[in-house]
Each structure stands twice: as C-alpha cells, then as structure tokens.
C-alpha cells in the first residue's frame, strides 16, 4: 500500500513540474506591469463574479476571453465606465481602465474560448494546436 502511495505522490510531483514548466509552451506572450495591474483591477472589482474567461467564472454576463477582438475598444471602455442593463457602471480611473483593457487584450491573444468543431477528434478529445 505504501508503495502505491509513494508512486502516486512521485507521479503527482513530476506531473506538477511538467504542468508548471511546459504546459504553456505555446504561449510566449509575457505579462508586463500594466497587464499585471489590469489583472489586479479585474480581481478587485470582482469581474469574475459575473463574467467568464475561457468559460470559467460567473454566468450573469458574457464570456470576455475574446472581447478585445470582437468589440471595438471605445465600446468596451463605454461599457465599463457607464454599464448597461445588468452590468453596473464601474468607477475606475483612466489608468485603471487602460490596465484593464491591456489585461483583456492579453487574455484575447492567448487563444480562443470557443472550440471549433474541426478540432474535435473521433476519440472525443480536442486537438487544439496539434495539427
């Protein structure tokens, strides 16, 4: 029993190192300080309570993974500043707004949230960036 437990623990440790180290090998877009500040604004305003990134987060508003390429920037700024419908107006400063936009653009560049049908393999898995 102890043997299986030790084996599993070692596999877990190795797998964790692999995930941390090379799991993101396709993403070479490093965050700068503005993007990091934007991420902090995202967290402090609790945007994740209503919005999703890659389908993870709240359900009140739309997924914002690719909003930066789907909507024009002035429109995004207007939405954030004045709100609409269920979206509250966020009292963010101009600098915070710039950082938040930089964060959303960074997320957008990392990939697309929706999985195209042609990436679904017959075994049921996806082949994203593996063709």
């Amino acid at each position: 029993m102890r043997g299986i437990l030790v084996t599993l623990s070692v596999l877990f440790a190795v797998y964790t190192v692999l995930v941390y180290g090379v799991g993101d090998r396709l993403d070479t877009d490093r965050a700068n300080s503005g993007i990091r500040s934007g991420m902090r604004v995202w967290q402090e305003r609790n945007c994740q309570s209503c919005h999703q990134l890659y389908g993870l987060g709240g359900y009140m508003g739309p997924d914002l993974t690719n909003v930066a390429s789907l909507r024009e920037e002035p429109r995004i700024r207007t939405f954030i500043r004045y709100g609409t419908g269920r979206m509250p107006a966020l009292a963010v400063s101009d600098v915070e707004m710039d950082h938040l936009i930089a964060f959303l653009k960074w997320v957008d560049r990392s990939g697309t949230s929706k999985v195209p049908p042609e990436t679904v393999h017959w075994t049921g898995t996806y082949l994203i960036n593996e063709h």
């Binding site: 964790t16 799991g23 965050a31 402090e44 609790n46 994740q48 269920r86 999985v115 082949l127």
Partner: protein, 440 residues
C-alpha cells in the same frame, strides 16, 4: 464532545444557514435584476460561495478533529484545536466584513483580499500539527478512513498554497500558465476536502454497521487509490478549451474515464445496498449517508458526460457546470456533513417528534435539490444549444429563455432553504442539549 467541538459544530451550522440565505437571494437577483439594486450580485455571489466553502471545510474539520480523538485514543484537551478554531472563525468573519464593504481581490471561490489567506494558512498548519501529534498514537494498521483524512488534510495544504502561487510573478508570466495553475489547484482542492468527507462517511458507516471490515478490504483501498489518482490528475476538464499542451487535456480525459469503475461498482452493489437500507433506515444518520450516495450516483453520470471533451464543448461555461457543483456540494458534501454532525449530536436519540421533523426536512431538501439540479441542467442545455449550435452572439438574446428556466431553479432554492432550515433548527436544538465530555 469537548467545548471547542461544540462551537465548531455551531459555527459550521451558522455558515450553512448563511450559504442558504445568500444563495436564495442571489438566485432571485440573478433572475430578477431589480433585487440586485439592494445588494449587488457581485457581492451576493462571493458571500454565498464563501459561506458554502467555509461550511464544508469547517464541518469537515470539526468531524475529523473530533473522531480522531477516539481513533488515536487521544487524552485530555487540545489547546491547538482551540487556537486553530479561533483563528479560523476570526478570519471567516473578516472575509464577510470585507465583502460587506465591497473589498475583493482574490479569485474564483476565494474572492476576498488575499492577505486573509495568511491567517487561514496559519490556522491550517496548527490543525495539521494537532492531527499529526495525535497520529503518533494511531493503530498499527490504520483503517482506510484514517488514510483518507490524512491525505485530505495534506492535499488541502498543497492545493491552498498552489492556489496562492499567483503572487509569485513567474506564475503570472503567461495567461495560460496563470489559468492552468489556478484551475489545477481548484480542481484538486475539491478532491482534498472530498477525501476528508468520504473518510468521515466511511467512519460513520463502520460505526453504524459495527463492521470494521468495510474500512480494511482490498477493494476499498483500490477504490481509494482510484479516487486519489483523480484528485491528482483529473482537474483538466476545467481547461479542455484552453489552448495548453495537448497531453494535459488527453491525460485528464483518460483519468476521468476511470470513474466508470465507481459507476459500475455502485450499480453492482445496488442489491446489497437495498438490504443494508432495510436494516438501518430507521437511523437519521444513515439516511443522510444514503442521500449522499444517491447524489454520488446522479452526479457521476453528469461528470462522466462532462469529462468527454466533445460533450464538454456544449456544457462548459453553462449552468450544467453549476448543476455539477451544486450536486456535489449540496447533494454529496452537505449530506455527509449533516450525517457527521448528526452523529456527533446524537440526533438518533432525540425525541420522536424532532426526528420526524428532521426526516421531513431531509425529504423536502432532496425533492427541492432534484428540481434545482434538473432546472440547472435544462438551463445549461438551452444555453449550450443557443451558443454552440446556433452560434448566437448577442448574449442577452441568447440568455432570454435561460432566465425563464432559471425561475424554476430559484423557486427550488427556496425549497432548499426551508428544508435545510428545518434540519439546522433541530440540530441547533440538539447542540444546546449536547453534554460535554461524552464521546459520540
């Protein structure tokens, strides 16, 4: 039961009530936005989520810290238990104070300012110190539930630290690394508290049946290893659509399919379960455990489907994910916790009228939860169809019929509030009468 355990039980039940109340209001605020004018949804949701999360962890630790005293033949008072609990309570209250002032800063499930993770970590280390000091007096050949408690406690620490690694800039270097580490830890953390809870459920079954053999068999250990493997490697379904390295996706898919073994075991053991039910159905503690097993079965069907990426494509980011989370936290975790707290409070020795009310509360909870769960699945299916199949881009238009279905979910939530409210009321009455010193 010692004085600290009594307080732990009372605190856990208060958190359950808070989770139910915030959850019921949040559900209506989701469907009827005007309610959100009073308390914004972005405040209600974290209040509900944190109350539920702290209910599960507080209830699980109350049980483990209490039962270990008997299993490890621990004598005397434990000052560490009291210090752990004091820090835990103070930090939990601070979380809600911060939410009340709209001070956020954390991430999904842990949306409070991250500085509060420091006392939580300190409290957990004290809990571990208390546990492993007693561990020295463990039986020579520990039963399975001891291993489950131990791995649950250790993996909670690992995943809690991992959840906070984003404070190290390297972990935020790329968005894919940031999101992967976040959901790796979140997924595994659920597995960690499940280890503590399933261990408790097994301990209770041993106590009810008087058969220590069920915690020592080879098959039981094999299934534990399978569960542990899923804790370690089956978190990838959160990230199927994230363009990380493919092997991460394929590994998660392969490991998740091993859960078919649990499904087959439940189906094969059905006849035995019926026999067991005939023997113990008069016990409330047992009925809570059976309720949790029923939800393991229902949720397993959903999880197995969601774990196939080709199906996950339609369910990811929809309310089907919420159905899975609610089935797990209410149907499985909460039912095991109510069994555990009920066992400690000796609810099976209460007056017949009280027991009848608890049974009614359980029946109402189960009926409401089924409706709640089915409404969420239906809402998710509608969203998945309109989003993926019809490709609708206008979010509000896409969600219109979903909000209609969610009115059923919000109404069922009221049933949950009333049903579990009845149970909590009678548990609190039992807590007031519970005597010190007597071990369950």
């Amino acid at each position: 039961m010692n004085k600290v355990t009594r307080w732990q039980i009372g605190f856990a039940l208060a958190l359950l009530l808070a989770a139910l109340i915030f959850g019921a209001i949040a559900a209506f605020a989701f469907v009827f936005p005007d309610i959100g004018d009073l308390i914004p949804f972005e405040q209600l949701r974290p209040m509900h989520v944190s109350a539920a999360l702290f209910w599960i962890i507080s209830g699980a630790t109350a049980g483990v810290m209490h039962y270990k005293r008997e299993v490890f033949t621990e004598q005397g008072r434990s000052a560490l238990q009291a210090v752990f609990f004091s820090i835990w309570v103070a930090t939990t209250i601070a979380v809600f104070v911060f939410y009340a002032f709209r001070k956020f800063g954390g991430r999904e499930y842990w949306e409070f300012p991250p500085i509060l993770c420091v006392p939580l970590l300190g409290a957990w280390l004290l809990l571990m110190l208390d546990y492993f000091r007693a561990w020295r007096h463990r039986p020579t050949d520990p039963p399975l539930y001891v291993w489950m408690w131990t791995t649950g406690i250790v993996f909670f620490l690992i995943t809690f630290i991992e959840q906070n690694l984003y404070h190290v800039p390297w972990f935020r270097d790329t968005y894919l690394r940031e999101i992967t580490v976040q959901w790796k830890s979140n997924g595994a953390m659920v597995g960690a508290w499940n280890q503590m809870l399933y261990g408790t459920a097994l301990y209770l079954m041993v106590k009810i049946s008087g058969d220590e053999g069920i915690a020592r068999g080879r098959t039981a250990f094999l299934f534990w290893f399978l569960g542990l493997s899923n804790l370690m490697f089956n978190w990838g379904h959160h990230l199927y659509n994230v363009p990380t390295a493919g092997w991460m996706r394929h590994a998660a898919y392969a490991v998740s399919m091993t859960e078919f073994a649990f499904f087959i075991a439940i189906v094969r053991g059905f006849r035995k379960k019926l026999e067991e039910h005939r023997r113990f159905k008069h016990l409330l503690t047992y009925r809570f455990l059976v309720a949790s097993e029923l939800w393991v079965f229902l949720n397993l069907i959903l999880v197995l489907l969601m774990s196939v990426p080709a199906i996950n494509r339609y369910t990811h980011g929809t309310h089907i994910t919420v159905a899975h989370a609610m089935g797990a936290t209410i149907g499985i975790n909460t039912m095991i916790l109510l069994a555990s707290l009920g066992f400690m409070l000796r609810v099976d020795e209460l007056a017949a009228s009280r027991k009848k009310w608890i049974a009614r509360g359980l029946a109402m909870t189960m009926a409401s939860l089924l409706l709640f769960w089915l409404a969420l699945i239906a809402a998710g299916a509608v969203k998945g169809y309109r989003d993926v199949v019809l490709g609708m881009s206008d979010f509000q238009r896409m969600m219109q019929p979903v909000f209609e279905v969610l009115k059923v979910f919000a109404t069922a939530g009221l049933g949950l509030l009333v049903g579990m409210g009845i149970i909590v009321r009678h548990f609190l009455a039992a807590l007031r009468k519970a005597s010190y010193g007597a071990s369950a």
